[in-house]
Amino acid sequence: MTKDQNDTLFDAPPIAEQERMVEAILFATAEPITKKAIADRLPHGCDVSEALAHLRKRYEGRGVKLVKVGDGWAFRTAPDLGFLMQKERFETRKLSRAAIETLAIIAYHQPTTRAEIEEIRGVSVSRGTLDLLLELDWIKLGRRRMTPGRPVTFIVTQVFLDHFGLESERDLPGIKELRDTGLLDNRPAPGGLMGETSQEDDDSDLENTDQDDMFE
């Protein structure tokens, strides 16, 4: 018995069955599919529009949604669950020496200007370093300094205090305490920060390298 004979001999399946069929087709097709294409696949006499309407309602508020794409129909992840389709790879990096020094200066000297940071570090502070600290929400802008040029100042944030386990900026150990703990020892800490050669992205460093080459 051919399919055509089937179609004319029997009535269309009940609407619940039509809905199942449309559901399976929408699930399995490799691209959005038009009503017409769905109808071509279904037994004769099916009401695709009604089946789609039922289906759309059934998937309301679910993890996937029946949507119209151009003149086709397709299942799509519910928009609020898009984050599940993103796999996040977490990577932990140690803050660069330029950043940690800049942060330390801001913490100990706040409110402090960029010029002051540069003076203390003896090298210029790259924009990227400050941006990173701002992005981490560890520093923020303070009041402008009432000096010529009215430069902005930087101060540390509550997030900074939380991260470093400090109740307030006053809890930062003073120079004397640092010396007492041996941190101000003149010898570079083995493998620690002090022993490292500066690898910051500051502009001044770049200039130094150039000059080295000039004299070769």
């Binding site: 399976a24 699930f27 399995a28 097709t29 490799a30 691209e31 397709a74 299942f75 992840t77 389709m85 993103q86 796999k87 996040e88 790879r89 977490f90 990577e91 932990t92 990096r93 140690k94 803050l95 020496r97 950043a99 940690i100 020094e101 942060l103 330390a104 200066i105 913490a107 100990y108 203390i120 570090r121 003896g122 990173l132 981490l136 991260h163 470093f164 386990g165 400090l166 930062l172 150990p173 120079i175 640092l178 941190l183 101000l184 003149n186 570079p188 800490a189 620690g192 920060l193 002090m194 022993g195 050669t197 080295d212 004299f215 070769e216």
Partner: protein
């Protein structure tokens, strides 16, 4: 002559069927998957449960099959002939009374194993058929047609401890006390003090504009590392002397030679 009994007729029909079957086997010999396959096909003509099969009868059927093949000059693969030899051996063992001095498995054990093999092969064939009759993906059921790719986001978390912070600050505050590490490691160094001392003695003679490298000490001009150090300190010393008002310095354009001359002498 007595008429044939019903049993005779059945026996005749059976042998006829067997003959027809074994002839079909010969025609089909290329279609067989080895001697075990042939044996299984022959066993089916016995129309009994494989567990009750007569291995003796089966052996004779198989030997007849090989014999006919020979008669019809059909080349049988070595496998089939090895099986024939083995079954001929088994047949004789099954027919003769057991030899008490004979070691190793009895003829019954060998026959039982052959029956097991046939039953197992048949079971596997049935299972294979059942497996293939299952609903199959891509034929009866389907996977998601529009899979959504999972995008990879890299998220970097920066960490620093309070100790890092304090060490960094301690380093900054005591930096001036350090003699920079790289300075200590260098031995081929012409210091600023040396250059200044040398320049002070030389400037009296620098009446005309002269290149900076002319003022470099002997033995510091060839090796680039020496030259670099001497150039830097001599230049710095020259600047110092300019500041003191004892020397003039000029450079035509970027990267052109730096020239020196005693101040006031024209």
């Amino acid at each position: 002559m007595p008429s044939p009994t019903q049993q005779d007729i059945e026996a005749f029909e059976q042998t006829t069927q067997q003959r027809v079957a074994s002839e079909a086997l010969l025609v089909d010999v290329d279609g067989f998957e080895g001697p075990l396959d042939v044996l299984l096909t022959l066993a089916r003509t016995q129309k009994v449960d494989l567990r009750k099969i007569s291995i003796l009868e089966l052996s004779m059927q198989y030997l007849k099959f090989v014999e006919q093949a020979k008669k019809l000059r059909i080349e049988l693969a070595a496998d089939y002939l090895v099986m024939a030899a083995w079954l001929a051996f088994l047949k004789s063992r099954l027919l003769l009374p057991p030899d008490p001095t004979d070691e190793g498995p009895s003829a019954e054990e060998l026959a039982a194993h052959l029956a097991f093999q046939l039953e197992r092969l048949e079971a596997m064939r049935r299972s294979a058929a059942k497996l293939m009759a299952r609903d199959q993906m891509g034929r009866d059921f389907f996977a998601r047609g529009i899979p959504e790719a999972v995008s990879q986001n890299r998220k970097v978390t920066y960490t620093a401890t309070i100790l890092d912070l304090m060490q960094a600050y301690a380093y900054i505050k005591t930096k001036d006390n350090f003699e920079p590490l790289h300075m200590r490691e260098r031995d081929r160094l012409f210091t600023m003090e040396q250059a200044l001392g040398r320049m002070r003695t030389l400037i009296g003679h620098a009446i005309e504009w002269g290149d900076l490298n002319q003022f470099l000490p002997d033995g510091w001009r060839d090796d680039p590392k020496f030259r670099r150090s001497a150039t830097a300190s001599t230049f710095a010393a020259a600047l110092e002397l300019v500041k003191e008002g004892k020397l003039e310095i000029r450079q035509e354009e970027t990267f052109s030679p730096i020239q020196l001359k005693t101040k006031g002498s024209e």
